[in-house]
Structures are given as C-alpha cells and as structure tokens.
C-alpha cells in the first residue's frame, strides 16, 4: 500500500510537469496576441488653414499604412476627423468615431448639430452632448498649426478611444 501511495504521488508530480509544459507556453501564446492593434498617436497634416470655411465642420480622412498582424497594407483611409474653424480662426478637431458604440458621426450642413445614425446620438458643434445614449461628448483631438512652404497647415494628433464609457480613455 505504501508503494501505491508513492506511485500516486509520482503520477501527480509528473502530471503537473506535463501540464506545465502545455500551460505556460499556452498562456504566453494567447496573451501576447491580445497586444495586437495598438495604435500610437500620430500627427497628420489634414488641410490648409485658409481652405477651411469658418463655422462649417468638414470631414477629413486619415490616410496611413495599416499593419494587421502580419499583413501590411498600402496607404489607405484608417479613420476620419471633423475639423471646424471658428470665426476667430481657432481650430477644433473631433474624432468622427461615435463615443457610444463606434459608428461614424455625421454632420448635415444647416443643422448645427452632429448626428450619429446608429442610435440617434446628437452633439453640439463644440462636441457636447445634446441627446442620445452616449455617456460622453465627442472625442476632441489635439491640433496644431504648421508652416509648410509658406502656408499654414492644420495638424491633428489622431487617436482612438474606448467606446461606451463615460471616461475618455485611449484605446490599447
């Protein structure tokens, strides 16, 4: 009977070794693939300052290369941004991704309101909530001006944020 006990013990130990050989790489493997798709914030020159019509939001696509795991795509649209130049010339930029669940926010000229078609969220021109299910206003992006060959260009730091929560938290 002592032998039997000893062997049971051995089986336990050896079985644990076997399980570890599988579990450790298995967990490492699975967890590391979760890191995929983190976007670093980056600056994009979107428009000449003079070309923007004061008071009217305009949508601009963010064009960049996209890397999806092993595939690298040539440049193409990866998102878009609403740019508004106020009468006094200050620039505001909003991500066009809806902070509710990530649809694309639209703007109908004349309406004076941003509108998301998915669940009817509406926003003021300054990004604040008017009505709808969203928990925060539109996500504002940092802007700056840059002189390129004598002309003022609007630069935007494009970023994506976690949808569905009240807090504005960068994705990743």
């Amino acid at each position: 009977m002592r032998r039997r006990k000893f062997l049971k013990y051995c089986t336990g130990v050896l079985g644990a070794v076997y399980a570890t050989v599988l579990a450790v790489p298995g967990l490492g493997f699975l967890l590391s693939t979760l890191k995929r798709g983190q976007l670093k914030e980056q600056k994009y020159q979107l428009a000449k300052l003079d070309d923007l019509e004061p008071g009217v939001p305009q949508r601009f696509s963010i064009i960049d290369q996209r890397v999806d795991a092993w595939t690298k795509y040539p440049s193409g649209p990866i998102g878009s941004v609403w740019l508004t130049k106020a009468q006094d010339g200050t620039i505001t930029a909003f991500s066009s991704t809806c902070p509710h669940l990530g649809c694309v926010i639209d703007y109908v000229p004349g309406d004076e309101e941003f509108f998301c078609p998915c669940h009817a969220a509406t926003f003021q021109p300054d990004g604040g909530t008017v009505s709808g299910p969203q928990l925060r206003g539109m996500d504002e992006l940092k802007t700056s001006l840059k002189k390129v060959r004598g002309e003022q260009w609007v630069e935007v730091e494009y970023q994506k944020f976690e949808p569905g929560i009240a807090e504005k938290k960068a994705l990743g």
């Binding site: 599988l22 790489p25 298995g26 890397v67 092993w70």
Partner: protein, 667 residues
C-alpha cells in the same frame, strides 16, 4: 479539493466515479510481464493530447490562404510570445509520434498482441498509426513555405498515380488541378477536423476492445484462483503470468515518465535543430550575404508557385523511400512503387494475425517479427541512401545554401516591411537581391559571367566530347560592371578573357577583339604607353562617377582634373609632368559631358553619359545596337519587352548596381 462528502453527493447523482474509472482506466488491470512495454500506447495518447492543445493554440493565429499562411506562421514564430515553442512542439511531437507508433507496433508483435482474441485491437492500432502519418503529411505544407509546398506536390503526385481513382482523388484533395487557396483550405480541414475526428473514433474503439480483453483476463484469473469454482488453468496458459494490478497509479507513472522523456527529446531537438538544419550550408558559395544569422531563420522561404525561386522538392522522411524507389525502377513500373507498394506493405502488416494459421504460433510470430524488422531496415536503408546521394551531389551545398539564403531574405523583408496583401511570394519576386541573379542566369548567363559563374553561383556548363564541362564565356564578366576598378582593369587590357577575350569565337566578335579599343590599349597603356597607372585610375574614376553607385566616394579635385585631361586630351601631362599633345583621348570616340568640356567628341563608340546608371543599363540592354551604343559593331542580342519584361529588367539592373535594401542600412 472537494471533501469526501461532497464527492459522495455528486457521485450519487452523476455516477462520475465510475465514469472516470471507465475513461481513465483507473481500475484497469495490466499485465505483469510487460509493464514497460505497454506504456507506449499510453504515451501516444498523452502526446496526442499535447498535439490537440498546441494545435488549437496555433489555430488562433494561423490563416489558411495563399496570401496569409506563410505570414501568419512567420508571425507565430517571430511576434507571438513562445510562439516558436508552441509551433516547434506541435511540429516535432508529430514526428515523435510516428517513431512511437513504429515502436509500439513492434512491441505488440513481439508480445504477440495480435493473437486471438486481440486481432481487432491490433488492426485498430495500425489504422491509428496510418491516421498519424496522414496528420503529419497534411500538417507539413500548412505554412505554405517552399519545403511544405513542394513536398506536398510530390505527395499529392504520388496519390495521383494510384490506378483508377488516382486522378480524381488528387483533384479532390488539391481542390482542382492546380495548387492554390482551395488546396490550403482543404488541407486545413483534413488536418484539423477530418483526421483528428477519425483518430478519436478509432481510439475509442481501440480502447473499448482493450478494456474488454483485460476484463476477460481478469475474470478468468479470478475463476482460477477461486477454490469454489472448479476451473484450473493449463500450466503454459499465458493468463497464468498476468496479475490484475490496476492501471492507475502503477502504469500511469511509467507512462508519464516515458512521455516526459519523449517531450524532453523533442525540446532538445527544437533547441539544437536550427544549427543541425544548416550544417550543410555555405552561403559564401553563392557570394550571398545572409540577411540574418542562420540561427534566427525560423521558416523556409514562402512558396513561389511558378518555381522562379529554385527549391529542390524533398518528401517527408517517412515517405522518402517511395520517392527514392521511384527513381530506381523503370518508368513503367512507377505506379507499382508509388501506389501498389504502400498497399502491399499495409496488407503484409494487416495479415500478421493470420501468419500463425499457416506456420504455427512460434514460426508465425518469428515471421511477423522478421517481416516487420526486415521491412524497417530496408526502408531505412533506402531512405538513408537517398539522403546520402542527395547530400553528396556536387551542387547540394550550394543549392541548399541558396534556399536558406532566400529563407533569410524573405524573413528579413517580412520583418522590415510586413507581408504585402498580395502575399509573401511577392517579397522575393519584387526584390532585386533575390531575383537579379536568377534573371541574369537565365538571360545573360548564356554569354556573360558574373565573377566566373552565372550569377547564382552555379557554373555555366556545356557539352564537350560527350562530357559536361565548364563553358567558356563568350562575353565579358559583369561583376563590378562600371565600377572604378572594373573600368581600370578593362582599359589596361580590353582583350583579357574577362572582357573581350572570348569574343573572337562569336560572329562579328573579331571586329571588337581587334578593334579600336584594343588598339588603343596596345598603343597607350603599359610600360611603353604614355598613360601612367594614375592616369588610368583617374579616368576610370571619372567614368565610374556616371553610374552613381550607392557607395561611390566623391572624387578629389586633382583626380577629377587628371581624368578630364585624359578624357578630353586638354592639358594632358605625360609621365614626367610635361604638358604634351595626347591623341589617344577618349572623347575622340566616346561622348561624356563630364570628361569633355567642349563636348566635341563621341559618336564612334558607346556614349558614356550616365554609363552604368539605371537608365544607361536599361537602354543598353533593350537596344545595344542603337546609334549611341555599339551601332553596327554590336553583337549582343537586344532584349525587348517581349523577351525581358520591364519588371525583370528593373530587377536585373538594380541587382547589377547593388541597389537593394540591406540590414546594415537600418542602423
């Protein structure tokens, strides 16, 4: 863990204890005689379990399509934490399982495990072995690398030679007549669903049969030991030797020990193999700088289906003997070897239980052992011979080095650029370093050489007196073309074998061989000639500047001036430093703005403006007989678009000029 009471509570409602006993053989009686023999089956089960777990992990990343398969496996190897370990384990444990099956069946035969009433146990184990081989064959091509791709070509080819059903079978497996996306999706389906399900079914039947047999033995023993029952066993009855010891924990411990040893060997193999794999490799043979160290190459190059990137197809080791036998027999008998022979081998194994019918127990078993061991020895012998002849072939090291070099190149490009959406093959197809030598060998290597070989490292051969010998080149050696050194060497002796030396043999070549350029060298270069070594070097450097080579150094003022004086004849100083009239100046025949301020010359010989540059080389290759090149003295064929596409021409020119992305530039 759970308290005894809870266990009891659950068991009363589920009967789980019995269930586990049945599944995990907890009370499973084992034999005394063969405690260490019977563990191979158990180890195979544990290895299979490991394959299922690692396989499932790989499935979370792997993507079965032509454009994505290689990239996803490369991603597993290089980006996923411990991905190399999981994939390595999955790959090598599969091979280890084939070895284990071979040993297991051998042990079954020597312990007469096929004897009545155990025939079906034996047959199911043979079938399971077959499924494991099938899993390895279908798993190997999944990365869609050169190795997997081409060995699968051979294997499906072999399947296709089967009489009657062969060709339809092949197109079902391949998904049409050509390899492509459907081949991969089918391969994947067979590998992850069809064969595993089959294996589990067979395994269930196998275990049910084994269990039935063990319980039967136990009953007989109990009856024999029970004094109340009037039943005695014969003295030589094998059941006498059996003890009814439960499988758990007595056999489980041994099974685990063996399993861990096998896994240990596999892990050792994984760590050591990269160096083993590359031991025949000598990249310097192909004058190829590896883009990454050999030990970092995790994957063969991506499959290039039009075979523009060379790769020698080799089948998996366990079907290698079929492949080799095919070469040994006359063509008409090929079908016998590839389709009939495996069937015959299988039949011989299946028939083992019947041998004893004809030869008696003792001799029947001996025959079975002899056939099994003999078969293994012959098969290993043939495989060993096959590997040996391949490895000792004269170009093996060179060709294998090239394959590894392409693997390194593709991996490096994928790491730097990512895999383009159109697939990993385009990494190589659009790369001057990869394609240049091949294009050169195909189009230029007929006449020209590159450092003496055809660009890829192979010698250009020709038949002479029925023997294959190194061919005499018919035109110049182009390695270093338009570089300072190359030009200086040319000017010093244009009729050297490296340059115009062999032209005499070709039509019209005589005119060049004894033409103006060689006369010029005869009259002006050498100890007697008016040109000094410095003069030659200066004018060479001046001309070489036209090519705008990637790491050309800027010329000093003095060299420039001296070069211009040689080229244009203006202000020319002889060896003593005196300004003299020089009538051998280049601009008489060649045009080149940089060397000839008055731009008066040129016309009679090739235009040297932009000599060796992209444009010059492309234009020249397209039309060497143009007015501003060799004109009517030209003997080189023109390579028009129909012969050499623009894409290939660009790759060729960039390669000749050494224009490709290199690892050191990244730093």
């Amino acid at each position: 863990m759970l308290s005894e009471k809870t266990k009891q509570w659950i068991d009363e409602r589920t009967g789980y204890k019995n269930f586990f006993h049945a599944i995990f053989l907890l009370n499973f009686p084992t034999k005394r005689r063969s405690r260490w023999q019977n563990i191979w089956g158990g180890a195979l089960v544990l290895l299979m379990l490991l394959e299922i777990v690692t396989g499932t992990l790989l499935m979370t990343v792997y993507s079965p399509s032509e454009a994505a398969a290689w990239g996803s496996v490369h991603y597993i190897e290089t980006q996923v934490d411990l991905g190399w370990f999981v994939r390595g384990l999955h790959h090598y444990v599969a091979h280890m399982m084939i070895v284990a099956v071979i040993i297991h069946i051998f042990l079954v035969i020597i312990s007469a495990g096929y004897r009545k009433p155990k025939e079906f146990i034996y047959w199911t184990s043979l079938l399971i072995g077959g499924v494991i081989v099938g899993l390895t064959i279908t798993g190997n091509p999944l990365p869609w690398d050169q190795k997997g791709y081409w060995s699968y070509q051979i294997e499906t080819g072999i399947a296709g030679t089967m009489p009657v059903i062969g060709s339809s079978l092949r197109s079902i497996i391949v998904g049409g007549s050509e390899f492509g996306n459907l081949t991969l999706t089918r391969l994947y389906t067979i590998h992850v669903i069809v064969l595993p399900v089959l294996a589990i079914l067979l395994f269930t039947i196998h275990m049910a049969l084994v269990r039935r047999d063990r319980l039967r033995t136990m009953k007989i023993k109990e009856a024999a030991d029970d004094p109340e029952i009037d039943f005695e066993l014969d003295d030589d009855d094998p059941v006498k030797d059996e003890i009814t010891q439960p499988y758990w924990p007595y056999q489980t411990t041994r099974t685990l020990v063996l399993t861990l040893i096998l896994i240990g060997i596999v892990i050792l193999q994984m760590v050591v193999y990269p160096t083993l794999k590359n031991q025949h490799v000598a990249p310097e043979l192909a004058e190829w700088e590896m883009d990454m160290p050999l030990s970092e190459i995790k994957l063969e190059a991506p499959a290039v289906s039009d075979s523009s990137i060379p790769f020698i197809a080799r089948p998996e080791w366990f079907v290698r003997f079929l492949f080799e036998l095919r070469h040994m027999v006359p063509k008409e008998l090929e079908v016998l070897v590839t389709a009939v022979l495996p069937g015959v081998l299988l039949a011989i194994l299946i028939m083992v239980p019947f041998y004893e019918k004809f030869f008696g127990e003792k001799w029947g078993q001996r025959l079975a052992i002899a056939v099994y061991v003999g078969g293994l020895v012959i098969i290993s012998g043939i495989s060993w011979y096959s590997v040996k002849t391949e490895r000792s072939a004269p170009d093996y090291a060179l060709k294998r080095s090239q394959e590894i070099a392409y693997a390194a190149r593709a991996s490096w490009l994928a790491k730097e650029n990512g895999v383009p959406p159109e697939g990993p093959a385009s990494l190589l197809r659009n790369d001057p370093k990869s394609m240049g030598p091949l294009i050169f060998a195909r189009h230029c290597g007929v006449c020209h050489t590159w450092n003496g070989h055809d660009g890829t490292g192979l010698n250009i051969m020709e038949m002479k007196d029925g023997k294959k010998v190194k061919a005499t080149p018919r035109a110049s050696d182009l390695a270093g073309f338009a570089s300072k050194e190359w030009i200086a060497e040319f000017l010093t002796d244009p009729t050297a074998p490296k340059f115009f030396g062999h032209l005499g043999s070709s039509k019209g070549g005589d005119a060049i061989l004894h033409g103006d350029m060689s006369d010029w060298a005869d009259s002006y270069v050498g100890p007697e000639g008016v040109l000094s070594k410095e003069d030659i070097e200066a004018v060479s450097a001046l001309i070489a500047r036209e090519a705008k080579h990637r790491n050309a150094e800027p010329l000093s003022e003095a060299v420039m001036k001296r070069g211009v004086s040689v080229f244009s004849g203006i202000d020319f100083k002889d060896k003593s430093g005196k300004v003299v009239d020089f009538d051998g100046y280049c601009a008489q025949c060649h045009a080149m703005k940089a060397g000839d301020p008055e731009e008066e010359g040129g016309g009679a010989a090739p235009d040297l403006n932009g000599y060796g540059s992209d444009k010059w080389l492309s234009d020249f290759i397209r039309n060497p007989g143009a007015e501003h090149f060799y004109s009517d003295k030209n003997i080189m064929p023109a390579f028009e678009e129909s012969k050499l596409s623009q894409h290939d021409l660009n790759l060729l020119v960039n390669w000749m000029r050494g224009e490709w992305r290199r690892p050191e530039e990244e730093k």
